[in-house]
């Protein structure tokens, strides 16, 4: 059963997965493009860190994009077919959902593994100045967890009805609008920022997306 689900999911989202895998492989190589001098001085080392930090923003963004792609593509055809396919299967709902979740996760392993390979290749390609080290394994593990989390969130949102997704988007948009209105009224009350802070710091769900995503660091 899992193989069938995996196959159908691959058919639906194969192109997107291939694009994501390609981007994941190329990103670490692009990151180290400035680290190729044969005689690195401390100026190169000090200049390299901000350059790497600039690229580091791309990793959580890519993880989010891949999670969004995997999470939404897993359910697109079910929604389109009004869940008739799922209803024809002799499975309880939770079992079906877990099969879909597992199939999506298996497909998303491809970009994660390719990012790992790309990071290891990039680490070998770059001439790393003294005092700096490459961290391909830590980066890949963190990327994998970020993809897992993003995928789980978007999968959960997409598994519900359009109304559920609407509620989620509505609450977020409502908070934004409320904050703008508060600012326009002259008050300096911060509504969104404290919520955001809670979400991106431990034990908030998005903490893993923050901080420095450095392939090469001290």
């Amino acid at each position: 059963m899992f193989r069938q689900i995996l196959y159908t999911q691959w058919k639906w989202s194969g192109l997107g997965i291939v694009a994501a895998a390609l981007a994941s492989f190329v990103l670490p190589i692009l990151t180290v493009q400035g680290a190729g001098t044969s005689d690195p001085t401390w100026i190169d080392a000090r200049a390299l860190l901000p350059a790497l930090e600039y690229w580091s923003r791309a990793y959580p963004a890519l993880a989010l994009a891949i999670g969004l792609l995997g999470g939404t593509m897993a359910w697109t055809n079910d929604h389109r077919g009004r869940h008739v396919y799922a209803l024809t299967l002799p499975l309880p709902r939770w079992h079906y959902v877990l099969l879909r979740y597992g199939a999506g996760l298996a497909l998303l392993l491809v970009p994660v593994l390719l990012l790992w390979a790309g990071a290891m290749l990039a680490g070998r390609m770059a001439t790393i100045p003294p005092g700096l080290h490459a961290y391909p394994h830590a980066l890949a593990l963190r990327f994998g967890l970020a993809v897992l989390l993003a995928y789980s969130i978007f999968f959960a949102v997409s598994s519900g009805t359009t109304r559920t997704a609407g509620y989620v988007i509505g609450v977020v948009a409502g908070l934004m609008v409320l904050q703008v209105l508060i600012l326009l009224s002259g008050s300096e009350t911060r509504l969104v920022a404290p919520i955001f802070d809670r979400l991106v710091t431990l034990p908030g769900p998005f903490e893993i997306f923050g901080g420095r995503w450095m392939l090469i660091d001290v």
Binding site: P130, L145, A156, T161, E188, G211
Partner: protein
């Protein structure tokens, strides 16, 4: 109407202060011109400070939206809705100032510090590396304390850019951010002396943190190959100053004495570690020394600056350097490392969302 009245008062205060100058100076007729000029300058500066304080207070009062708070000897003027934040910032600022400057902070009692300045309250938090908002005001407070210390020793110190910059830099960012930046510096600079310091050779740390800005001493802190590199890096500038022969001897013929000579003549006095690194050493000394550290630093008659700092801290120079080294190595940026707790939290959240997905129903209407 109110504004015109205020301006008249300000102008009056300045004119009055300047008019009073000759009266105050009168008993000191025997003083020479330099002393006379210094006294007038001080009075003018005092008048300007009074005007500035008065001006910011009046601006706040005109807006009618400011409140005051006294923390230690700091008097802060701020928008009332930021009271909680100002209390936090004020407490942090006062603790830092009191620990470092001790009794010298009495100078602050004459000043009202407006958090935010004329542009209003800007950055509500301390952000790394930029002096804005409350931190810029804290820098002003440090300037007030430094500017008020009068004894000869303090003046000699204040004229020393190393000391002045280190004291000011100490307050420009959170200690943690400063330590992280110094860790990066220690880990990435390829100079032998810095690498040895990173590896724990405290004698080399002493050399890398050198207080002296003397070009002759600086040149000798590097290896011959490093000297060649430094001169080579500045070659374009030096050559344009018609010293091509010495530079060529150093860079191409690898004559070390030529490198030392060029470094001395062109003041290539870049120290192995930056002023920020030295500021962290001074902070370590002040932290260990506690209350009155600054006064003890000024009073110390040790010939070497490191020994002065050690005396302030109440430990030996080796212990001070060891504590600094431990503190910097402990500040290794950890954001890259995936901590176990961070990994588990992400995994648990992912599992929670997956479980939430299984609770969905295909029977519900879209």
């Amino acid at each position: 109407m109110c504004s015109a009245h205020v301006h008249r008062r300000l102008a009056g205060a300045i004119v009055l202060a300047l008019l009073c100058a000759p009266i105050v100076v009168a008993p000191a007729r025997a003083q020479d011109t330099a002393e006379y000029r210094e006294l007038v300058e001080r009075l003018a500066e005092r008048a300007q400070t009074l005007a500035r304080t008065e001006s910011s207070t009046v601006r706040g009062a005109e807006r009618g939206r400011l409140d005051t708070l006294t923390v230690g000897r700091l008097t802060l003027l701020f928008p009332p809705q930021r009271r909680a934040l100002v209390e936090t910032v004020g407490r942090t600022a006062w603790d830092s100032l009191a620990a470092a400057f001790g009794a010298d902070t009495t100078a602050l009692q004459r000043h009202v510090i407006t958090l935010g300045g004329p542009g209003g309250f800007r950055i509500p938090e301390w952000t790394g590396g930029q002096a804005t908002g409350p931190r810029a005001d804290l820098e002003f407070a440090v300037g007030v304390v430094l500017g008020t210390v009068r004894d000869t020793e303090a003046r000699r110190f204040h004229g020393d850019p190393w000391f002045r910059d280190a004291v000011r830099v100490m307050f420009l960012a959170e200690p943690r951010l400063q330590d992280e930046a110094v860790y990066e510096e220690l880990a990435t600079k390829p100079w032998r002396v810095v690498r040895a310091c990173y590896d724990g050779d405290l004698a080399e740390c002493d050399s890398a943190l050198a207080v002296s800005s003397d070009a002759a001493t600086t040149a000798l802190r590097y290896t011959p190959e490093e000297r060649r590199r430094i001169v080579g890096r500045e070659r374009e500038v030096i050559t344009s100053l018609r010293s091509a022969a010495g530079t060529a001897q150093c860079v191409e013929a690898r004559v070390d004495s030529a490198c030392v000579d060029v470094m001395r003549r062109f003041y290539l006095t870049e120290q192995p570690l930056s002023p920020l690194a030295r500021a962290t050493l001074m902070r370590t000394a002040f932290t260990l020394g506690g209350d009155g550290s600054y006064a003890r630093l000024l009073a110390s008659d040790e010939p070497e600056f490191l020994a002065r700092l050690a005396a302030v801290a109440g430990v030996t120079p080796e212990t001070l350097l060891a504590e600094w080294h431990r503190q910097i190595l402990a500040a290794r940026p950890k954001s890259m490392m995936l901590t176990r707790i961070s990994g588990w939290i992400a995994f648990l959240w992912a599992a929670a969302f997956a479980v939430a997905a299984t609770r969905s129903s295909r029977w519900r209407r879209d």
